[in-house]
């Protein structure tokens, strides 16, 4: 599957991408909401894995913008912010919410899991 990984921590985004590649997925990485949007529009992914707090927008805004741009990808929000508001807002966009830390070997299962 094609997976777009979005996280403003470059190292983390790269590692997540590398883990997914080990699982046979192809990946691209973005570190801002705007660059993620641009990437998704030019190369529509099957899955978007995104941090919730991005420098230029929230994960929820990014996911809604993606839908508006016609990108119909399954969304997984990964966040250290596990307060109920964040979780509820993420789920409202139809995304799967996952709390950090995510064990390295658990990530592949998330992508492979039922949509």
């Amino acid at each position: 599957m094609r997976v777009l990984v979005v996280d403003d921590n470059v190292s983390l985004a790269e590692n997540l991408a590398e883990l997914l590649e080990l699982g046979g997925h192809s990946t691209s990485v973005a570190t801002t909401g705007a660059s993620a949007l641009a990437e998704a529009v030019s190369n529509p992914p099957d899955v978007v894995v995104t941090d919730y707090r991005l420098p230029d927008m929230s994960g929820a805004v990014l996911l809604r913008s993606l839908r508006a741009a016609g990108v119909d990808a399954h969304a997984i929000v990964i966040s250290a912010h596990t307060d109920e508001d964040t979780i509820a807002e993420a789920r409202l966009t139809g995304a799967t919410f996952v709390a950090k830390p995510v064990a390295p070997d658990a990530l592949g299962r998330l992508i492979a899991g039922p949509r």
């Binding site: 996280d7 921590n9 590692n15 997540l16 590398e18 883990l19 250290a80 912010h81 950090k100 070997d105």
Partner: protein, 387 residues
Amino acid sequence: MQSLTFLENVKAYVGFDDASSALLLQAHPVVAPRFGPIVDDFYATIEAHAGARAAIKGGSAQIERLKGSLLRWIDEMFRGPHDEAYFQRRARIGHIHVKIDLPQVYMFTAMDRIRVQTQSVLRESTAFDADEAKRVATALDQILDIELAIMLETYREDLVAKNRTAERLATIGQLAAGIGHELRNPLGVVESSAFLVTRRLEQLQVSDPSVSRHMEKIAVEVQRSNKTISDLLELARSRPLSRRAVAARALLDAAVPAANLPAGVSVDVDAPAGLTLDCDPDQLTRVLTNLLINASQAMGGQGRIWIDARREGAVATLIVRDDGPGVPADVRPRIFEALFTTKAKGNGLGLALCRRIAEAHGGTVTLEDSERGAAFRVVIPDVGAAP
């Protein structure tokens, strides 16, 4: 000049001296035959008042026990000696009042019951002449006021400790939210990089025991750091409880493996079939895993732990006991304070978190007096579900 102890100070203030102690001792045989009815009246009054009754969660079995304690308490008050050891024993009772959340007002009203009853027995007695009777009555008033002073002092001490913990928790909360979230990402990078390196070495068919050991160390320490962050974040926020009736046996059977104890530690679970706990199972599991991890660490990863689950009236109790070295007397009063730890690798959050969760349930976590090892008692009262 040596400063006066608390007891010496209040005794001197009200004018209670050795002669007063001697008068009370003289009055003992006069009042002793009436101790039983005085105690019965005392608890009948408590049962008639909802606010006071609420502090007694163990039902009639507990009241029977408490009656025995009160009988000894009154007996000792007349007998004396009113020395430091006496003060220490009385102070322990004061601490219990805080523990059971007895509103302070009932210390005064309950003490008034005892005052009225004991003075009335003395007035009816012909054992003393008029002058002596007055002096006995005064000594009795004085000792009862001293008792109140001791209760207020211990109440204040406990309240200060509680507030100190609350302040620390508030400070932790602010720090935790910021730092905890900041540390999650770098730890995530370390963890995933270690994982990727391990996978890469496997691909290259490189097998080096030293490298493996170090990669394993990185993984273990990252997990430990993640646990500290989780504990901090958990302490910092008060999550609403999601309470329901759960089978004690199932909850305990799931909590034991969740604690991930070393192979040298065995856990015996004793929970009657049919015992239910009215609790938030996730949060109570957290309490149990913390207690199990503590016990295991205290025993150096080698030994036995017993968990006993029981129902006592309208509360369920869980006792987690180990055969380790126990908790030293000097640290016992502080172990539930946030950031207090005696462990080289402890973060000082585990027991504070346990207490926070138990109190959110309207219950308690306490350290029991035990001859061997340490024993923690978790009390979870029923709120919604019928027992």
